[in-house]
């Protein structure tokens, strides 16, 4: 028999004639088409589907995929300084080993006993993240930082009965676009109004005068990020939280958790709701598909009752001394209460939570201190060296973490031209800010992490010097 005529497929045990025949007999029909009797004939498709010929052999399929994917040029073959919401950090080998385990990879919703190991891993994700942010209540992960922030704004609106949130005007346009979606429309219920707060041009931090003028008793929350999109560490965070409190507003802080070995934990300076990304914690960039988010708060009932996520709690079992894990506050989720639940939940990035848990266990307190210190020093070294180039400025040359803004106005070249020239030299330059942050002129956001060596940075600087030369 020709391969094309055979139904037998390696993914489908019952694709043999014998299995098919047996099922037809037991069901008592002569043809499988009889089973579709509920579908009116005028619903059936007009023409049979036409797809490219199947690649049923793994030999052929692998070859096809390699040819397609081989067209990509990667951040391993090139020297990349791209960040802006998706960062190239080292992913320890055992994070990949653990997150590709079949048991975790294929699990769905078992019982608390049959999913015990996975539920424990989730609890360990929340427990370790709680240590990083210094907060006691942590939900299971969300789709992204932006999604986490969006849900947190909605939590704050429900908590305060107010609908206005202050946000940094200079924030990530990608993340802001997600948050805007979550804030809804003024013509419908539950709309949240976003009020942009300026940054101080001298420091890149929140302009405190502008913040004070916009913070009122109608403010539901003040949102700040540290480090922010442009890399700036918000040194006035405690004061901002205290100001927010005097107006009865919540303080929501967005963080990059890989910074928390060296930067203060949000729970330690008055944050009510912490949000952020999980991608730096042992997840590959995956072309942006590695992003994930989290929400954490103090363990107070009023906050816990606003979570849209699922969360696992440690608990006893019927056997004394045995520990288990179960879902807490399930009934307030959309699974439990449909449209009456808190927003909604569904599939998220739960496998990444296990990679995150593995990563945090490997790192320990010293690992986070080291990686934070390494990133601080390498990124500041890069900023210092780049700022020495003719026509190139780094206005906020201190007080940042991992990312910094480089301005090329003095070179008579656009960021796009510079990045194209760098690419010919197998370097991916910083994210072009010239359209999203027009006020910064021809600027780019450079990202330096623990993977970059002094040689890498010097190579960037040497090449930048050449491509920006008049």
């Amino acid at each position: 028999m020709l391969e094309q005529e055979s139904r037998v497929h390696p993914y489908m045990a019952n694709s043999t004639d014998a299995a098919r025949q047996r099922m037809l007999e037991v069901v008592g029909v002569g043809d499988v088409a009889e089973l579709f009797e509920q579908i009116p004939s005028n619903h059936l498709l007009s023409e049979e589907i036409q797809l490219e010929p199947a690649l049923r052999s793994e030999v052929a399929l692998r070859r096809h995929l390699m040819a397609l994917l081989g067209q990509n040029d990667t951040c391993e073959e090139n020297l990349s300084f791209l960040g802006a919401g998706c960062w190239q950090h080292h992913v320890p080998a055992i994070c990949d080993e653990v997150s590709s385990r079949s048991e975790f990879l294929t699990s769905v919703w078992g019982t608390p006993s049959s999913d015990h190991g996975r539920n424990q891993a989730w609890f360990e994700f929340a427990s370790q993240l709680g240590e990083l942010v210094s907060m006691d209540f942590v939900g299971l992960p969300l789709y992204s930082w932006g999604a986490a922030a969006g849900h947190a704004f909605r939590m704050a609106a429900r908590l305060t009965g107010r609908n206005r949130v202050l946000v940094p005007r200079a924030m990530d346009p990608e993340r802001l676009a997600v948050i805007r979606t979550y804030c809804g429309s003024p013509e419908l219920k539950g709309h949240i109004e976003l009020v942009g707060v300026d940054h101080d041009p001298a420091t890149g931090r929140y302009d405190m005068a502008d913040l004070r003028s916009k913070l009122t008793d109608e403010t539901a929350a003040v949102y700040l990020e540290t480090p922010g999109y442009l890399g700036i560490v918000e040194t006035d965070a405690a004061e901002i939280a205290s100001l927010a409190r005097t107006h009865g507003a919540e303080t929501i802080v967005g963080v990059d958790p890989i910074s928390l070995g060296v930067l203060a934990a949000p729970g330690d300076y008055g944050t009510d709701i912490a949000v952020g990304t999980t991608q730096p914690l042992g997840v590959h960039m995956n072309c942006g598909g590695g992003v994930g988010g989290f929400i954490a708060t103090r363990d107070e009932e009023k906050y816990a009752k606003q979570y849209p996520t699922l969360q696992v709690s440690i608990c006893d079992t019927v056997v004394p001394g045995e520990r288990g894990f179960g879902l807490t506050l399930f009934s307030q989720s959309s699974y439990g209460s449909r449209e009456l639940g808190n927003d909604w939940t569904g599939n998220s990035v739960y496998l990444w939570a296990i990679a995150n848990a593995t990563y945090m266990s490997l790192m320990g307190p010293a690992g986070f201190f080291d990686v934070g210190s390494t990133i601080l020093r390498r990124s500041h070294y890069a900023a210092t060296k780049i700022a020495e180039l003719s026509g190139v400025r780094v206005d906020w040359s201190s007080g940042f973490f991992k990312e910094f803004v480089v301005n090329f106005d003095g070179t008579d070249k656009t960021v796009n031209e510079i990045n194209e020239a760098l690419r010919q030299r197998r370097i991916f330059g910083g994210k072009d800010l010239s359209e999203s942050h027009v006020e910064l002129g021809q600027s780019a956001l450079f990202c330096v992490t623990e993977i970059h060596t002094a040689d890498d940075i010097d190579r960037l600087v040497d090449n930048l010097k050449e491509v920006t030369a008049r």
């Binding site: 489908m12 994917l69 079949s102 975790f104 998220s348 490997l362 991916f428």
Partner: protein
């Protein structure tokens, strides 16, 4: 078909919580020393952070060596059943997740690429996205797909936001404030519509197993923004009036969204666009061979007709001859639901699955899932105590059927959750009960799909039959199950008690002391 049941027992490692492991001073990872010219230039790291923002004390994490971490998480993986056993978890379409795809997406060609790279360096990933878009268009009749949504619920939310943008562009949003769904639609449909600001009207089920067209007619008005429904539903019932429903909603000026969560049985038989729908959603982590991963990373692939294309979130992948570029779109787009383009590795896996199957393979998978479900039904209904939902409906169900253990519960006191807990003792993972609202008492919803062999399906049924006998002979054995798992039944009595719940170790320790 009865066969001896397996003498299964889960691995039991009595594994401590990671916070209890390790010892002071151990390291799981080191980083390269800082080169001298860096320290000479910038000095000490702590001086690069303003004092007010420095971390004051070390993070309270365990201190472990690398092999300790590995073994700990391997132990946890072994205490997770996943698809090592048999899982016929209904509504989730458990199918094979080809390992080739896992290996391909771990390559740096996918794992180590950045979405802000020049598109000239991303032609491979853009081409895969485009190719999968074309495949889904062919399967649905829609004109364009986008993969940004991080799961089925996110795609449902995306539809609600596109609905907002569509009516906003027509100046009708203030008036179009209602979304209509049915009691058998997934909870994410009403929940996401409400989160997007709409009021929700839920049509109840009627005698025929679905909501009536009359009820729909009574619900639609000039306030209707959209219909959001699945079909078939989780009971395996197909609403034969769905075309008429679409007409009714369109006449009222609303949009129609087809939640294709239950696509497996009808794939290659119907096309959403030919039924008149404006938009639909496929779950790549279910129907298209991607792994469940315990709940994502997932993709709700959202497709729509040309008229709605301008409202799709950006960026979109566009083919320009042989090259591919990103379309950042105009002002009408509905806004993003998530940063970047979606779970790219899963897009690659689903493309690969679709190519491995081809048109004939996809048809075969649909047929086998229909056959297997109806095969199961024959055997399941022979087990005393099990009844079918809405038994007066005699037509063959689609790829899954909702059953009830209510009779068994009345007779023995053993509930569906008890049965679930006992079945796992035989290496058979939990069945799905039912989404809210429960329409039958003590519901359960198995879905055989195309992957599981007849022997697997028979074994699953044998285990259920055995547990039902046990329920009569030794009900306590079932009520106290599981007995062969990593842990016993959890005490869930205080999971909702703020004095005792603990989602983190630090909260647990504090509450233990209190």
């Amino acid at each position: 078909m009865s066969q001896p049941l397996k003498n299964y027992h889960s691995a039991v490692w009595d594994e401590p919580v990671v916070m209890e492991l390790g010892a002071p001073g151990r390291r799981g990872i080191l980083f390269p020393d800082t080169e001298e010219r860096i320290s000479d230039t910038v000095g000490e790291a702590q001086d690069l952070v303003a004092e007010a923002m420095r971390r004051q004390s070390p993070i309270g994490l365990p201190e472990m060596s690398e092999p300790e971490v590995l073994r700990h998480y391997l132990h946890l993986s072994q205490q997770t059943l996943g698809m090592m056993g048999i899982s016929l978890f209904g509504t989730c379409t458990m199918k094979y997740n080809p390992r080739l795809n896992e290996i391909m997406t771990m390559l740096p060609h996918i794992s180590e690429v950045h979405p802000h790279q020049s598109t000239a360096t991303l032609q491979g990933v853009l081409e895969v996205i485009h190719r999968l878009d074309l495949i889904l268009r062919e399967l649905s009749g829609m004109d364009r797909f986008v993969f940004q949504a991080g799961g089925g619920a996110d795609a449902s939310y995306l539809h609600a936001t596109i609905t907002r943008a569509y009516f906003e562009s027509r100046g009708e949003l203030g008036q179009r404030t209602e979304v209509i769904t049915t009691a058998q639609a997934h909870p994410c449909n009403p929940a996401t519509a409400a989160a997007a600001g709409f009021s929700v009207i839920t049509l109840p089920l009627e005698e025929a197993g679905y909501a009536s067209t009359d009820a729909l007619r009574a619900a639609v008005s000039d306030r209707t923004a959209s219909l959001m429904v699945n079909n078939p539903d989780d009971m395996g019932i197909y609403n034969p009036h769905i075309k008429e429903w679409v007409d009714v909603v369109h006449e009222a000026g609303g949009l129609c969204f087809y939640d294709h969560a239950n696509f497996n049985g009808v794939m290659s038989r119907i096309r959403a666009a030919e039924l008149g729908f404006d938009a639909c959603m496929f779950m790549l982590h279910k129907t298209f061979g991607g792994p469940k991963a315990g709940g994502g990373p997932a993709v709700g692939a959202y497709g729509c007709i040309a008229e709605l294309e301008r409202f799709l979130p950006r960026p979109l992948v566009v083919a320009d001859g042989d090259a591919f570029r990103l379309d950042e779109g105009g002002p009408d787009n509905s806004g993003r639901v998530r940063e970047f383009w979606g779970n790219v590795p899963l897009i690659v896996k689903s493309y690969s699955w679709s190519r491995a199957m081809g048109a004939a393979g996809i048809r075969e998978a649909a047929d086998l899932s229909m056959l297997a479900n109806n095969y199961m039904e024959k055997r399941l209904l022979e087990i005393p105590g099990i009844t079918k939902s809405l038994p007066h409906l005699v037509a063959h169900r689609m790829e899954m059927t909702r059953y009830s253990l209510g009779e068994l519960t009345n007779e023995t006191g053993v509930t569906a959750i008890n049965v679930q807990n006992r079945m796992v003792d035989f290496g058979v993972d939990a069945f799905w009960l039912s989404h809210e609202p429960w329409i039958v008492p003590e519901p359960f919803t198995p879905e055989a799909g195309e992957m599981w062999s007849l022997e697997d399906i028979d074994y699953w049924i044998d285990v259920l039959a055995h547990v039902c006998s046990e329920a009569r002979e030794q009900p306590e054995l079932v009520k106290t199950a599981p007995h062969n798992q990593a842990i016993h039944q959890i005490n869930d009595s205080y999971l909702n008690d703020p004095e005792r719940w603990a989602t983190t170790w630090r909260a647990f320790q504090r509450k233990q002391k209190a």
